[in-house]
C-alpha cells in the first residue's frame, strides 16, 4: 500500500488552534498542497492577517510575515517588490480584507501587484467573538447586529470578488467554497491556478473561499456547512469573476 493522502510538507507539525469544524484548516491544507504540487514552498513568502488566522505564520512551513490588521496586501507589496522572483501570498479574513483593509486590497489589486490573496469569507468576525462583518448577510444575527443586519442601518453585504473584478490590474479572481468534497477539490484547483498565474507574472490574483464559523454562527460543524450552502452561496455566487487570458 502506498500513501495517497498525507499532511503536506508546506504545513508545519504544529496543531492548529481553530475551533472544531472550522474550515480554516481545510483552506490551510489546500494552500499547502498547492505549494507542494508546484514545488514552490522554498520560494514562497506568506503574509498572515489579524483575526482567527493570525497564527498562520506558525502553520505554513515557509518564510512568513505577520501584518497589522488589514495591511497584509501592503506588506505583501513591499515583499514582492523586493523579491519579484518569489511567490507572495496573503491569507486574510473578511474583517481584515473587506473592512479595515479595504483600501489596501483595492489598491494592491489595482496596481496589479503580482501577489495572491486567499480571502476567507465566513460572514462574521471570529477571533473577537462573532461581531458583524462587512460580509454578514442581511438578517444575520451577530454580537453587534443582535436584531439581525438591516440594510437601512448597516448596509448590504459586500461582494468583494465582484468589486475587485472591475479592476484592470486583477488577472484572476474566483469565488469558491469548501462545504463539500466536490467544492473542496475545485477550491484547490482555483488556489493552484492563482499561484500559477502569479508565477507567470500575470497580475493580481485572489481566491475568495466561502467558509464556516460554527462557534459564532451557533451551529454544529455539519449544520454550518449546510448553512453556508443554503444562505451564503445564493448571495455570493461561486465562479470565476475575472480572468485575463
Amino acid at each position: 500500500m502506498k500513501k495517497v493522502f498525507k499532511r503536506p510538507e508546506s504545513l508545519t507539525d504544529k496543531p492548529m488552534h481553530y475551533c472544531p469544524g472550522c474550515t480554516h484548516g481545510i483552506v490551510h491544507r489546500l494552500v499547502a498542497e498547492a505549494l507542494d504540487e508546484l514545488n514552490i514552498r522554498q520560494d514562497t513568502i506568506g503574509v498572515a492577517p489579524v483575526g482567527c488566522a493570525v497564527f498562520a505564520y506558525d502553520y505554513f512551513n515557509c518564510d512568513m510575515q505577520e501584518a497589522a490588521h488589514g495591511r497584509a496586501p501592503a506588506v505583501a507589496t513591499g515583499i514582492k517588490r523586493v523579491h519579484p522572483d518569489k511567490v507572495v501570498f496573503t491569507y486574510q479574513g473578511d474583517g481584515d480584507l473587506a473592512s479595515i483593509g479595504a483600501a489596501e486590497i483595492v489598491h494592491a489589486a489595482n496596481r496589479g501587484e503580482k501577489i495572491t490573496a486567499i480571502f476567507i469569507n465566513n460572514a462574521i468576525y471570529g477571533m473577537t467573538g462573532g461581531q458583524m462583518a462587512p460580509t454578514t448577510l442581511l438578517d444575520q444575527v451577530t454580537a453587534t447586529s443582535p436584531y439581525g443586519r438591516k440594510a437601512e442601518t448597516e448596509g448590504y453585504p459586500i461582494r468583494i470578488s465582484e468589486m475587485l473584478s472591475t479592476l484592470e490590474g486583477a488577472a484572476y479572481i474566483e469565488r469558491v467554497s469548501v462545504h463539500d468534497i466536490k467544492h473542496i477539490n475545485h477550491a484547490k484547483k482555483a488556489i493552484r491556478k492563482a499561484f500559477e498565474y502569479q508565477l507567470q507574472g500575470r497580475g493580481f490574483t485572489m481566491v475568495e473561499v466561502l467558509s464556516t464559523c460554527p462557534t459564532n454562527w451557533g451551529l454544529t460543524p455539519l449544520e454550518s456547512l449546510k448553512w453556508l450552502k443554503d444562505n451564503m452561496i445564493p448571495y455570493y455566487p461561486l465562479g470565476v469573476k475575472r480572468e485575463v487570458e
Binding site: M1, K3, V4, F5, P15, G25, I181, N185, P214, P221
Partner: protein
C-alpha cells in the same frame, strides 16, 4: 485494500469526516478521549474502507492519512 490512520490527538471531534464517509465506517470513539479532551474519530471496520480519502479531505485538522 485501503487503510486510514487517525492522528487521534489532533482530532477535535467535529464529525465532518463521519458525515462525509460514503461507507459510513468513520465513527466517534465514545469510549475514549484524546489529550485535547475530545472523543476522537476512528474507523473500526477497516476492511470496508475504499481509500476514497473523503474523510481526510474534509478534515480541518489534517488528522487523517490514507493508504491504498
Amino acid at each position: 485494500m485501503a487503510r486510514v490512520t487517525f492522528n487521534e490527538d489532533l482530532c477535535k471531534g467535529c464529525k465532518l469526516c463521519v458525515a462525509v464517509c460514503p461507507k459510513k465506517i468513520v465513527k466517534i470513539a465514545e469510549d475514549r478521549i484524546n489529550n485535547k479532551g475530545y472523543h476522537p474519530a476512528t474507523v473500526e471496520e477497516m476492511d470496508k474502507c475504499i481509500g476514497c480519502a473523503f474523510c481526510a479531505m474534509m478534515c480541518p485538522d489534517v488528522v487523517i492519512e490514507v493508504e491504498k
